[in-house]
């Protein structure tokens, strides 16, 4: 069928210019699907409009990525040259499965411990992990009586060896970073780079369980009313991977070309957890770029 499709493709070549749709112009001539042949952007196009149905992304995740896009590129899609980061690819994954565990001892209204499974199949072999974070959205429908201090305990379960369905022996990684969030925070990033560095690229699925333990800044007043305990302040996380696509098709800023000659900087050694009010992240990048210069 490949050969016949290829012949069909060549036979149609005569009137190719006139009626073909743009994506079919990008089909490899011999009809073979060589994934390295077409840039990923056009590879998807070559599937044409009738391609695989697309799952709808999480709206909060889409909102965050649109803000990231505005921080990195102009309205016409030109990458901003004043950026200080090396990554030319950012991928956001929402968990493809999550199981809530029995509620532990945590402040009412914070996220109960949860088991998460992320499918990283879209990460290609040429994409190098530079940084990864768990992104939590703070649910503002619950009024916070006071700032809350949290610590996060994260356990990555080794991927099950082939053939077994259960994840392998877990190894625990505790983030002892304290962070607090109040009314103005919209997102909280938990940096998990050092934990995922060895896994991304070799595993297509990441299985982890996350547990927040939080304490209030001020002792609870008897009259204070808690947020309804069944409403979580933190909406379950997305996993964001900041990658450097090393292929020729991807754009390599002067920074990354310059750094290509130097050992690539380890993941940001900032504290593991940061809370960002809206738009803070872009300013953060700006400050660090000035500092670095």
């Amino acid at each position: 069928s490949q050969a016949s499709r290829g012949e069909a493709q060549i036979a149609a070549g005569a009137e190719l210019e006139s009626e073909a749709e743009p994506w079919s112009l990008l089909q490899p001539v011999d009809g073979r699907d060589r994934s390295g042949f077409l840039p990923p952007l056009f590879k998807v196009l070559s599937d044409g409009p009738g391609g695989a149905p697309r799952l709808q992304p999480d709206s909060r995740a889409l909102h965050y990525m649109k803000k990231l896009y505005k921080a990195y590129a102009t309205k016409d899609g030109i990458p901003k040259s004043n950026r200080s980061h090396l990554y030319n690819t950012v991928r956001l994954f929402t968990p493809c499965a999550q199981h809530k565990q029995a509620p532990g001892d945590q402040v009412a209204g914070i996220l109960p411990p949860v088991d998460l499974l992320f499918d990283l199949d879209r990460v290609t072999a040429v994409e190098r992990l530079l940084k990864s974070v768990l992104l939590y959205t703070v649910n503002h429908s619950v009024s916070l009586p006071s700032a809350v201090k949290c610590a996060c305990n994260l356990v990555i379960k080794e991927p099950a060896p082939s053939g077994q369905s259960l994840p392998g022996a877990p190894h625990s990684f505790t983030l002892n970073s304290q962070f607090e969030f109040g009314k103005k925070h919209r997102w909280i990033e938990v940096d998990v780079t050092t934990l995922l560095q060895p896994l991304v690229g070799s595993n297509k699925k990441i299985h982890m369980s996350v547990n927040f333990t939080c304490t209030r800044e001020q002792p609870r007043r008897p009259s204070a009313r808690d947020g309804p305990s069944d409403v979580t302040l933190l909406v379950s996380p997305s996993l964001i991977l900041y990658l450097n696509d090393t292929s020729a098709r991807a754009h390599h800023s002067r920074l990354s070309l310059h750094d290509a000659r130097r050992p690539s900087p380890g993941p940001d050694q900032r504290s593991n957890v940061s809370a960002y009010p809206v738009g803070e992240e872009a300013a953060e990048d700006g400050r660090s770029s000035r500092h670095r210069r």
């Binding site: 743009p22 840039p39 990923p40 952007l41 998807v44 196009l45 409009p49 391609g51 695989a52 149905p53 697309r54 799952l55 709808q56 992304p57 999480d58 995740a61 889409l62 990525m65 649109k66 990231l68 896009y69 990195y72 590129a73 309205k75 016409d76 899609g77 030109i78 990458p79 030319n88 690819t89 950012v90 991928r91 956001l92 994954f93 929402t94 493809c96 499918d119 199949d121 879209r122 696509d245 020729a248 098709r249 991807a250 754009h251 390599h252």
Partner: protein
Amino acid sequence: GQDTVVSELKKPLVPASLNLSDYFKQFLFPQNECELHDFRLSFSQLKWDNWIVAPGRYNPRYCKGDCPRAAGHRYGSVAHTMVQNIIHETLDPSVPRSSCVPARYSPLSVLTVEPDGSIAYKEYEDMIATKCTCR
């Protein structure tokens, strides 16, 4: 014929609508010289907006126009370009004249929704023509 001469002299040398630089340009450079042109499109026109979230508009630009015979440094052309033009004019017209093509590009940042529902921000090289040349 004095009054004819006088009336001729009274005519404006340059049509009012054409200013001086354009007036001289028509002598210095060919009319439709090889240069960069805009082509603004939105991904919804291509029905790709169900998976390309941003940018809302994309201008890949393109090169179009005639290459002058002596396409020298002005286009960053190489010596071969003039050789090809000479062959076309003096030896064999089936050899095409030099063509007006992009010489330099700039990247494009794209925000896409992947088939599995994940969201990707990627920067692709060579997506917008920024300079033309004759080759």
